[in-house]
Symmetry: none
Subunit: 208 residues, 4 copies
DNA sequence: GATGAATGAGACTTCATTCAT
DNA sequence: AATGAATGAAGTCTCATTCAT
């Protein structure tokens, strides 16, 4: 579980191959949910025999977990990249919002799976929570940074990180439930405004 | 549990009885998710025979929908009651936050089901979204009220409502995933601060 | 497990019905062995749907055990009946030999199953051993009776009982492996001669 | 285990090596029975890859048969050696009893497999019966020898041989089912007494 | 000679649903 | 109105066997 899943079996040399397979599996799962998705269907989508799945994963659940894992890793990676060029914490928050919205739109399959897992009692919740930790920690890291340099007012970084996460995800999902697309600009503007005005110290609020 | 005929409990005016049954069913569903919960188990929890379920509901799905419906109605009802005494929109928002946290803590079974449904593609999403509409509309109603009387700055009421919803739910769920309880005061304080400072017009911010 | 299996479900009032079902199942199992016999086949032989099997038995193994159980009970019952009219221990032994040969010939399906189980490590051996205990105890009881009244010479009743059991079963099975029938008279004569001459006290040997 | 190529170990003249492999395979089969033992497990126990098994044996069944064969040969060999020094038929019978008990205790894996096969309808019974023939023929040979020289009374040598076989095997197996060891002396004494007194001509009985 | 990834037929088991009582 | 025995479609998983390397 430490190395990337599919590694030994499915990645044909490059990592891109492995990713391709996991995304395909994610798409299959997301289309109909964990239970309604049969292993046959996944095998079909992957273009391999059913037995091959079981040669590489102990069970349907293990494959599922690998998919979720890969998704969490993907989001985290993109978040990290998106904030790399940003200077101030506020700037980073803006980038995070944009990044998450893009990710949710592009990989909505995966995101739906995340959330579903977050609420699932079937597979160990602790494990799933841990999965989101990576991206949550990036956000709370930014909050702490802002607290230190005085750009954020005194707030609990944990709760704040989750709040931002929630704002973005629930807003985005609602759009995806109704329509197919997210009105990026509107959502970004609204969330930025609320979140930054709600968290930035008075002196730092001007540019908003 | 056996004194009342099942039918009257579900359908008759005696609403308390009906609520009891639906909550029991909700608990059964929430424990293991829709698919892993068997009709046998629900019947067992309800103290009736399996056939009886099918006498009153066309299918497992119909029962499930009834449960979700009941939950949505319950939340809506409590939200309405909680804001009835509040005067200002800001006051109402505070009450909403408290109310939702309490509800999530007390009825976390139901809430988990909500969210799962929100991400489900299995049952018609439109229908589910509609279920949450009730409570979302209450929030967006408050936002509109605040916009009109000038206490809120210009924000998209829809997105804002969803954002608040997301802040609360994701924060709360995270606590329920890790621990058993939610640190109410902390969460309320944090969310109030962020959300209200982020949305209230400058003139209205003082008391925070 | 105390009441006779199939009882609640399959016996339609009389015990004969239950027995009929278990014998049918035994026949199915015996034809191809436990593993090669599919639950589908058993259901087919029984004239019920596959699900019905699983409504009454937790698993294929549980059904199998019930069959073995029934067989052990059947043999024990017939042994008891066969010796009821016999006066002397020697007479009883003769009856037992006849009874077992008849049983093996008539219910060779069941007997093959017994032996297979006796050597199986898959299902708990202790349990199976216990199954044979009933009939073994009848034999060792006769031995003890003969020891007390002096008609048998001093032998270990346990080992002696098992020896007789082994003589009969292995002899019979060998015939069933080669041919379809057992030459009753020959086998009875031979075993009686060896066993009784080998165990009877000198004074009691004449009539042989 | 890796020093020698597999092939030479199985097929070459170096018989000791071949014996080692077949015993290992026998142990694997005996632990869980033919069906529950996977080719993977056997390969693992043998320290070779699964494909290697199929390079040397056409199928799982062929390997199994080879194992059974080897076991039958082993017993026969030991029986022959054990009676080589004995003078009288009665003496030989005593040696046979001792030899079989030792073999059963030492190679109980193999013996369990024998018996299972004896009752199996899955693989051709005739073939299996034939396998046991070797050791049975040794016993019936002794009986015939004793008949000729008058030391045994008139009995059917076939049935008698099988009876002895059954006495020993069932007695021994019962001990192995309950405990781990066989009380050699007791079992030998008891079976010797019964069998020889039951079969020896009157004049030859004294020494018992 | 040896390997082990890939296969796919087939097994056991579950469970929503029906219906005679 | 309520029951629960019976059903059978469908799903997960196993494993003997193959074959390219």
């Amino acid at each position: 579980m430490k190395e990337l899943p599919f590694s030994s079996a499915f990645k044909s040399g490059s990592n891109g191959e492995s990713r391709h397979f996991l995304k395909t599996a994610a798409g299959a799962f997301a289309k109909k949910g964990y239970h309604r998705t049969t292993v046959d269907e996944i095998a079909g989508a992957l273009g391999v025999a059913k037995g091959t799945i079981y040669y590489h994963f102990k069970s349907k659940e293990e494959l599922y977990l690998a998919v979720i894992h890969e998704g969490a890793y993907l989001l985290e990676e993109q978040m990290r990249r998106s904030i790399s060029a940003a200077k101030t914490p506020a700037e980073k928050i803006k980038r995070i919002i944009e990044c998450m919205l893009s990710f949710i739109e592009k990989e909505n399959d995966l995101v739906f799976l995340f959330i579903k897992e977050l609420c699932s009692t079937e597979i160990q919740r602790a494990l799933q929570a841990q999965m989101l930790c990576g991206s949550l920690r990036i956000i709370s890291g930014i909050m702490e940074e802002g607290l230190k340099n005085g750009s954020f007012k005194k707030v609990n970084p944990e709760i704040t990180a989750r709040s931002l996460y929630g704002m973005i995800i629930i807003s985005a999902l609602h759009y995806l439930s109704y329509a197919e697309t997210i009105p990026h600009d509107q959502v970004i503007t609204a969330i930025e405004k609320i979140f930054l005005e709600g968290t930035l110290a008075t002196d730092y609020r001007e540019g908003l």
